[in-house]
Amino acid sequence: MWLFLIIFAVLIIVAFTRLTKLGEQISSLEKRITMLEKKGMIRSDAIRDTSLQPQAGPDEKCIEKEHAHVEKGTAAEWTWQSKRITDQPDITRIKDQPQERVKEVSPGEEVWKKIRNRFEENWTGIIGAVVLVMGVSFIGIYAALFLKPFYRFSMIILFAAGLFIVSLVMKRKPEWVNPATWIRSCSGAIILFACLGSGWIDGLKWIDDVRYAVIFLSLGITVNLYFGFLGGTQAFASLHVILSLIALGIAPQNRITLIISGLIALVGIGFAYRDRWDRHLLLTIIASLIYHLDWYGSMGFSGSGTIPLPMRLTGIITLGTVGFSACLLHYRKLYASKEFDRLPFACHMTNWAFLAIGFLLYSTGSKWNTPVLAAASCALFLLAGRARTKGIRWLHITDRLVAQSIAIFALFTLGRWGLDTLFITAAIYLEILVFAYVMIEEGDAVFKWLGVYLHLLAACVVISVGTFTLMVSGHADVVRNSIILSGVLCLHVFFHLYTKEKPLGSSSIFDVKGDETEVTISGTLVGPLMLVVYAYLYRYVWANYALAVAGSLLLFTRQRVQSNGLGTGLIIALLGSGIFAWVYMWNDIPRVEFIVLLYAIPLLLLSLAATKWSYVETFKKFIVWPGIYLFSAHLIFTCYIMMNHISPFLPGVCWLIISVLYLEAATRVKEKVAQPVVALPVAFEAHLLHVGYALIGLFIVRHVAVHMQSELYVGLVKIRLLIELFAIIVFLYWATFEPPERIKTGPSWYAVHPFFWELVLASTVFTIALEVPVRWHPCAWTLLAGLLLGLGNRFQEHLSRMRLYSLILYWAGVLQLAVISTTYRTPSLKWADQAWVAGCIAMIGLFIYVPLYHRRGRLSEISLSFGAEDRQQAIRHMAERHNFLLFYPLFTSVALFLYWSFDKSILTLLWVTETFMIFVISIILRESHFRYLSMVGLVGCLLRLLFYDLSRSSTLMRAIVFIGVGLLMLAMNTLYTKYKERF
């Protein structure tokens, strides 16, 4: 079976070689025929036939005949002649053709040459080898039936020797060199077959002692390899190396065969030193690898644990020797090239793959692999440097990368030393950092970027592993892990600063001197790294102080070196650490004020440091907002955590006080930071004001969500009311704040601050709605409306809009007088609890308010701080309908209030009183139409008096009503007489 396989392999190789040559010959033949065709000597049909059947004798003749007849020049003759020649296929006829016509093609010599060449080039190697090997095989089989194994062996050896002698003879003639070489190779293969058979093939086996059999096989291999060496080409060398390995593979496997295979491969590699024999090298390496896999399988090993150590070591040594020999092969001046060399590269990479797979197979799993691999990595790294000196660029790059990979792999094996993933990752980071440093120092364009990218990747991996470890193992080994990560952080920072100093060339992700606007990934990664370290330690108070010190140093450094990436990273770190601290403070920190304060102080200081060292050259100003907002957020949160457990009311009040302090700070801080070296940012105060607004917003939210539910009293006063009153005072402080001109430059000033008066008003309305009983609401709205009217008149320039709000509140009072007061019910019998009492007081107030507003309301002069033109227009329209909007709602409301609140029997008297009041108003305001209105009302009342009261009221009530109405009418008459000149 193996014999046929060998033959088959030989046949394939020979056939492949021969077929290539055959193709070339056919092409050259076609060219020649085309040339002839151009000369008009032959017909293309015939050419095609000829070219398709080059070996056919009759066709050859046909060509000759064609030549002759083309000379004659007639197609008919040609046809006849052609037929005749075909009928008489005699080669002598060709000779009968006139000599002068075939002189150009030299018929005799040409034919002989063709036949010889074809034999030589197409058939000798293939058929000869096949026939001979088959013949030997048949003889062997035949002999096997009759002879003893030793004789059979001898017979085969003799046959091989015969072939060898034939090859020697043939070699004397230059034209037979090639077939002679093939015959010699065949003889070598036969000898190898015989040697193999003498030990292990039934029928040929005559050596029982395995040792001798191996020696014999080795002899056969030696001869075979020698013939391969003599072959002088890659094809022969590869053939004999492969045959040797196949033969060795057929023999039972042990350590010796493995060593022999290594020697074969070494010899094969040695052949490749003759020239750039990369194809041969590639085949040798692949064959060697296949042998190793076969050996591994045939030994029955299924896993690394099943291989005995001596076997393992043998395999490793064998592999190492072969692999490194192959590797060194390319370190020759012969390969010097600045261009990428594909075949040697593929060969080199295959060799590394061979080594990798092989070492994986024979891996001992020992922890001592680490130093070995590390040493190998160092050696290869240095070796790769030699490739550079020799000018083999691709090899330099490849082996540097391989060295780097081996180093990383070596670090991975640190797990065998009991080290955990985080430590190993950190070690890999360190290794990559060293690599990157060396590469940058060496100045190689490719490697320095590669080093830096790898370093970024390693940093990302460290961050991921750090996070994952924290998630998986919780807070076990936090100090140890945080120390490891802190080390990585320090190295990362130093390296980042180092790369800032070194010009790395143009890139969009790294800081480049002269282009400071870029945000670097390298610098940005400092943030996540810091954050991971803090994530391990945030439960410790001391960790916050350490964070504050480290963070401040980094902030200071950032300002000095002006690294935008580092700045971005620090913002991430500060924000993230703040969130961690908040989560801890929210969930776990003991609710003791001192501890909370102790925990929070470093974060506050760090935020202040972020404000102080915030100068960014790119923008030519301090970027203070992250620091300010972070500080404020910490402050707000710390206040909450410190105070909420004491009382849920405390944080809100505290925020209000802080808001006032922020407002003051916005005006005063700048005055104290006088003559700075670099000017403070314009928006510094604006940020403080924004925080103040935010604090007030937070208070409002908290008041609605938390304070509002409480009905608790301190003494006889509600706590909620006290807080609301304090809030109104604070809002008033904000509203009356007159800032320096420089603060008034920000848009927020115009967008938010003017509305503080509205906030004061809204808070007051809210407080009244919440704290004052519903029945007193009309009185409260009337009072507030009067107050706003006064305020709007007193501060016409700034607060004229208060008069508009006054009118709105007046309407609210009017509406509530009619609706709320009349539907309110109480089981109490006390006067003070009755809705109509409050309603009457409100009614009096409204009647006082109305003339006041009529005189001082001046709607048309109102100016809104947020005054869009359409709103101003609406106010002008209101001013035009002044009386309609002001008086008639009141008159209607009072009429309804009287109707719904009092007994129907005295309703006429009450309504007449209302008309009297309207009449008085008409006199005061000198408005005739109110007089007419009062007259109409009076007529209505008189009609009711006649048709309702006379028929339904009791006599007493009737008397009272009539007297009352009469007196009022007399009073109206008196007043009219006295003031009629006013109308």
């Binding site: 849920p648 006080i657 938390v706 009905e711 608790l712 009293y713 509530q816 309110y824 089981p827 019998l829």
Partner: protein, 304 residues
């Protein structure tokens, strides 16, 4: 002047904080928007009242409607039942303060869950569970006053005003549809406001009788203790803002605190007063007006 104002504001703030630090007041819930919804409900409630004023339906219409409703319960009521007699006796005395011309009637519903509700025209339903949950007559009065408040403040008639109107016209279905539409659109806004108004009415009723004003707080706390009522209303499981919007009643914790504080202030300003609790009255189903136990009187010192 400005500095003075600043110093005043800061000192006032610090003073307030000191007061809070010393008193350490706590809130019943961590956070809730229910009171805010309750306050916001006042505006739509005013609109609803305006609507009621415009609709030509008066107390007599509501009374007729109530009488019709009462007839349904009348046939189911056991008029010899102690609870029935006891509750109606109390109600008869409470209704002397009522402004609406209704005959207030209480029907006892045989359910173990503590609950009560008011219907238009002065019909009140109370469960047996309510009487077993409450521990004194003053607490029963507190609950009945609350229900009476719903009737007196026209909360019940607002729900059926269009039905009442349509009875006059003769198309009841149309009226019911109109009520349904208005209630769906508006009622969520002010249902908590209604409850608060009825609470206030009930509390004022207590103040105007001889009963202990702390009964309101006690009644709420007893209802809160009842697992069927307090379920999902505890401090540890506050509702989300949307659920709070659709809540029909304010939180019992808030109601208890509100009226507990009011009662505390009342006792602080009425130290010489004596009020009646009526634990034994409830146990014996004998109203205060029929029999007074000397040990049922409480004074301010009891709450100090």
């Amino acid at each position: 002047m400005r500095t003075f104002f600043l110093v005043f504001v800061v000192l006032a703030g610090i003073g307030l904080m000191w007061l809070l630090y010393v008193e350490k007041p706590k809130t019943p819930l961590d956070a809730t928007l229910a009171p805010a919804y309750q306050l916001l409900g006042e505006a739509p409630q005013s609109l609803s009242r305006m609507l009621s004023k415009i609709v030509p339906v008066n107390d007599l219409d509501e009374k007729e409607f109530g009488d019709a409703l009462a007839q349904r319960f009348e046939c189911l009521a056991d008029k010899k039942d102690k609870d029935y007699l006891y509750l109606n006796d109390i109600m008869r005395r409470l209704q002397t303060t009522a402004r609406k011309p209704f005959n207030y009637r209480v029907y006892v519903y045989p359910s173990p869950y503590p609950n009560a509700c008011a219907l238009p025209g002065g019909v009140v339903l109370a469960t047996k569970g309510l009487l077993s949950t409450l521990k004194s007559e003053s607490e029963v009065v507190s609950v009945l006053s609350h229900e009476m408040g719903h009737v007196e403040l026209s909360h019940c008639s607002e729900i059926v005003r269009f039905e009442l109107l349509s009875r006059k016209i003769g198309t009841i279905t149309l009226g019911r549809l109109a009520d349904f539409a208005v209630n769906v659109l508006l009622r969520h806004f002010y249902s908590k406001t209604h409850e608060d108004e009825a609470d206030n009415y009930g509390y004022e009723m207590l103040l105007n009788t001889m009963y202990d004003p702390t009964a309101a707080e006690k009644a709420f706390r007893r209802l809160l203790k009842d697992s069927t009522v307090s379920r999902s209303r505890t401090k540890t499981s506050p509702r989300d803002p949307i659920s709070e919007y659709f809540m029909t009643h304010p939180y019992l914790e808030l109601r208890a605190q509100k009226f507990g504080e009011k009662a505390r202030v009342w006792w602080a300003t009425h130290e010489m007063e004596k009020r009646y609790a009526g634990v034994r009255n409830l146990n014996d189903r004998v109203p205060y007006a029929t029999r007074q136990f000397s040990d049922e009187w409480v004074n301010a010192y009891k709450y100090k």
